[in-house]
Symmetry: C2
Subunit: 308 residues, 2 copies
């Protein structure tokens, strides 16, 4: 799957992932009204609204981008109907040949991580049959529990040719509270980055590993160091746009080959119609606004990369 | 909810939580056969088996214990039907007046943690109505992202009078890889423990905080230090039994008042019938075997506490 991701990034020229994090406040009124009319102001209604909203965006941007990243929390908050919408979204994006990164940030002790890995990336045995549950292509994983919480994911990645992105340095303001603390003179995130490189060396694609890392766009200097520590890890970079990261901040996350990083934007794309810049599209044109925002983001990154 | 937990621990005399982590391999043949007959060897069949299995255990032990801890990964691996079984399990346990600790180990950047907190402990607004999704009483939370990933959970706890247990020192073998690394001469888990005490000071119940901690039974010496660092935090202690923790290891997790800790056992209870000690119950008597194992565990802990 890392090979497919790299090949799609090359083909689209867009190291861009659209975050499908559909807060109800982003969903245009006409979609909400229709869903609530049909299912009421219920979790089922919210799930339907989110699904229709996603579908519009995916249809509008799928030829421009290699991948999407649905944030499962935005679906899980609506319970079982929400998770049905998550599953429909994953399936629909795969029909459109997009690589799907499940932003699930799971991670637990070994046997439990194995269940998460099976449910999101692999298969479960039920009696004599074998089923798969959410079947994303990649998942994000939390490293706090160490190797035995990660290994079951790595095993499933190797078997299924899928991938994970491990949280190394997150984009949020307080990420430094623990992640930046110095251990033998070096911040925790560097130690985690070294482990990512080590775990990743056991399952390599053609040029990059199945095991990638999450490093926030909001910390470009740290990205520079981590790029060096994990040369074969694809870096998933959240925090561009609404969280404050700019194109110029991103160059350090890429390798000399122009590859090695994929930049996420969620709100900045899916709720672009709410920005002054794209206001002319109106709420009815939210999907076209998202398309315009994807093009602008791709150009911003290309300019930053060509200018380095 | 922390007050209810403390009061139920006092009433039952059992600082014990039963982990409802239903691996299919634990489910007795007669339950599997019935569920597969009805729903096939499908996620729906697995979910039905898991739910019936749980129900039998809950019916057999609910008068002996204060709380249960369903591990959501074991349900999530079966996709949407699995999560329906999770929800039914949570609801059924609450009908039986058990405190429900959702072992979900979520944690993300602020807005995303807010969605998880709403979905598991709080409410979501959908149009003009207000709904709740999984409504556990407590949830487990991963601290790697720092304060702004935790605060949305704390806010919901304060509002809903619910609680969280934050991973401090986990029970698995490689937990030390990052958690034990020294920062200014003290291990990371102590720094996390101090934050737990700080976050917890902002939402206190009568004698303990809404904000607790997870510390593995497999690390009793560390438990001793953490008990002192977080005197008002309830400690959820996994790792007893199958993972190797013994009653004598547990005394350090408790305060002088005999409170302050609740010990989880999953496999050791719910699959007790597979142990030689309880083999006489047979697979048909799995729930009664679980009841006997709960009694033995409660006695083991009581002996350890009275002997200190």
């Amino acid at each position: 799957m890392i090979n497919k991701l790299v090949s799609k990034i090359r083909k689209t020229g867009a190291p861009v992932v659209v975050g499908l994090d559909p807060m109800l406040a982003y969903v245009p009124e006409h979609i909400l009204a229709k869903a609530f009319h049909e299912f009421g102001e219920t979790p089922e209604g919210a799930a339907e609204a989110v699904w229709q909203y996603n579908k519009g965006i995916v249809d509008a941007v799928c030829d421009l981008i290699p991948a999407v990243k649905p944030q499962i929390a935005m679906y899980e908050q609506f319970g079982v109907p929400g998770l049905q919408a998550f599953q429909k979204t994953v399936d629909y994006c795969q029909e459109k040949d997009l690589v799907v990164i499940g932003d699930v940030k799971r991670g637990d002790i070994g046997s439990t991580s194995a269940a998460y890995a099976a449910g999101h990336l692999g298969k479960v045995r039920i009696g004599k049959s074998v089923c798969s549950a959410f079947h994303e292509d990649f998942a994000t994983v939390n490293p706090y529990l160490g190797t035995d919480g990660i290994k079951p994911f790595v095993d499933v990645c190797r078997e299924e040719k899928k991938g994970i992105f491990i949280l190394v340095k997150t984009s949020n303001p307080s990420s430094g509270e623990f992640q930046d603390r110095l251990i033998d003179g070096r911040p925790l995130y560097e130690w985690v980055g070294e482990k990512v490189a080590e775990w990743g060396s056991t399952c390599m694609g053609d040029s990059y590993s199945y095991i990638g890392a999450v490093v926030g766009a909001t910390y470009p200097e740290m990205g520079k160091v981590l790029r060096r520590i994990m040369p074969k890890a694809y870096i998933l970079v959240p925090g561009y746009g609404a969280q404050g990261g700019k194109g110029a901040d991103l160059v350090h996350f890429f390798n000399e080959d122009g590859l090695g990083a994929i930049v996420n934007s969620s709100r900045g794309i899916i709720a672009a119609y709410k920005q002054e810049k794209y206001a002319a599209f109106g709420a009815e044109g939210y999907a076209e606004a998202a398309r315009a925002a994807v093009k602008d983001m791709t150009e911003d990154i290309a300019n930053a990369l060509s200018g380095r």
